[in-house]
């Protein structure tokens, strides 16, 4: 190859890359835009799909039965909480963190850690303590998504509830989960748990 033809090749390449076809910029932007929408929508759709009752009960069927007689499943006004309302944070970043942590649960599912009622019962306390700890750490965030202290009307509450809510809860000394354990599931062996005898 002669020197001049080599320079000519370089020149033509330079021109090719320095001046892309006019349509290319638009196509690239357009594809990126549509791809972005599809990815973002698909990602959130996938995450929501793992938040449905059907998805949860695929593995946790025995616990799903436990919630049915409780007030979070059936009540006078028909407002319901499903699994993810209490067990998955609502804010986006917290939700992602929880979903990544849930990958451990996938491993446990494949290992069959709680795949029989007996195995589950043996592990119930450990699992319950994890959730109590999580809710204690985030000041019962998932409870407060619906039960906002600011809007509690003490005149509508029972005497016992007012006594507790106007003192310990109001001062921030206690949080919801400190007293309201086992409101949606059967309790594990409560020996040694604070507030239980």
């Amino acid at each position: 190859m002669s020197k001049s033809s080599f320079v000519g090749l370089l020149k033509s390449l330079w021109q090719l890359f320095s001046k892309p076809a006019r349509i290319a910029t638009g196509a690239l932007l357009g594809m990126g835009f549509i791809g972005g929408i599809l990815f973002w929508g698909g990602f959130n759709w996938g995450m929501e799909a793992t938040n449905t009752e059907e998805f949860c009960s695929g593995c946790h069927a025995p616990i799903v039965i436990e919630i049915q007689p409780t007030i979070h499943y059936t009540n006078r006004s028909g407002v319901r909480a499903i699994c993810s309302d209490c067990h998955v944070p609502h804010a986006w970043t917290d939700k992602i963190v929880r979903k990544v942590q849930a990958s451990k649960e996938l491993v446990m599912h494949l290992l069959g850690t709680i795949d029989t009622p007996e195995k589950f019962e043996a592990r119930r306390k450990h699992l319950a303590e994890r959730e109590w700890h999580r809710l204690k750490e985030n000041d019962s965030l998932e409870c407060r998504n619906c039960h906002d202290f600011e809007f509690m009307d003490f005149t509508e509450q029972g005497v016992r509830a007012v006594n507790m809510h106007s003192t310990s809860l109001a001062s921030g000394e206690k949080t919801c989960i400190d007293c309201h354990k086992g409101i949606a599931h059967s309790l594990p062996d409560m020996s040694g748990v604070e507030g239980w005898q």
Partner: protein
Amino acid sequence: MKTLVSSVIASLILVTTWVTANPVANEEYVNNGGLESLRGSSELSDTKQAELIKKPIQNDQVIDRNYVHQPPLIPHDIRGYQVDIKSNKCLSCHGWKFASQVGATKVSPTHFETADGLTLSDVAPRRYFCLQCHVPQADAPPLIANDFSAVEALSASGLSN
């Protein structure tokens, strides 16, 4: 044609004998033999309308006892309160550890005694299941009218009902 007619007649006879042989299946009324129960008189063939579920009394006011040694009644809602081998929700307020702090009635010391008269350091197993004796109340009229009245010593402010 002959066979058709005879087979129709035969099947008719069969059906009528079956129907008469099963008088119960065919009758709408079954006599109860004059039996009266607390719920009134009803025929066996009737399905009575169930009573509406009553709302529990939940005003936290102590309910008067009607006789000596009557287990005190529960004046609050207990929906979802778990009492089993793993946990006892009642004792979270009525146990001695928590009662004064919560302002609840303490479990009677008699509940710490075994059948042999030994006093244990916690509620005795035979007294553990609160709801065997202590029950919530509904604001409902008695099933049948009665004129029972509490002994005078137990009736608050002289009213006996």
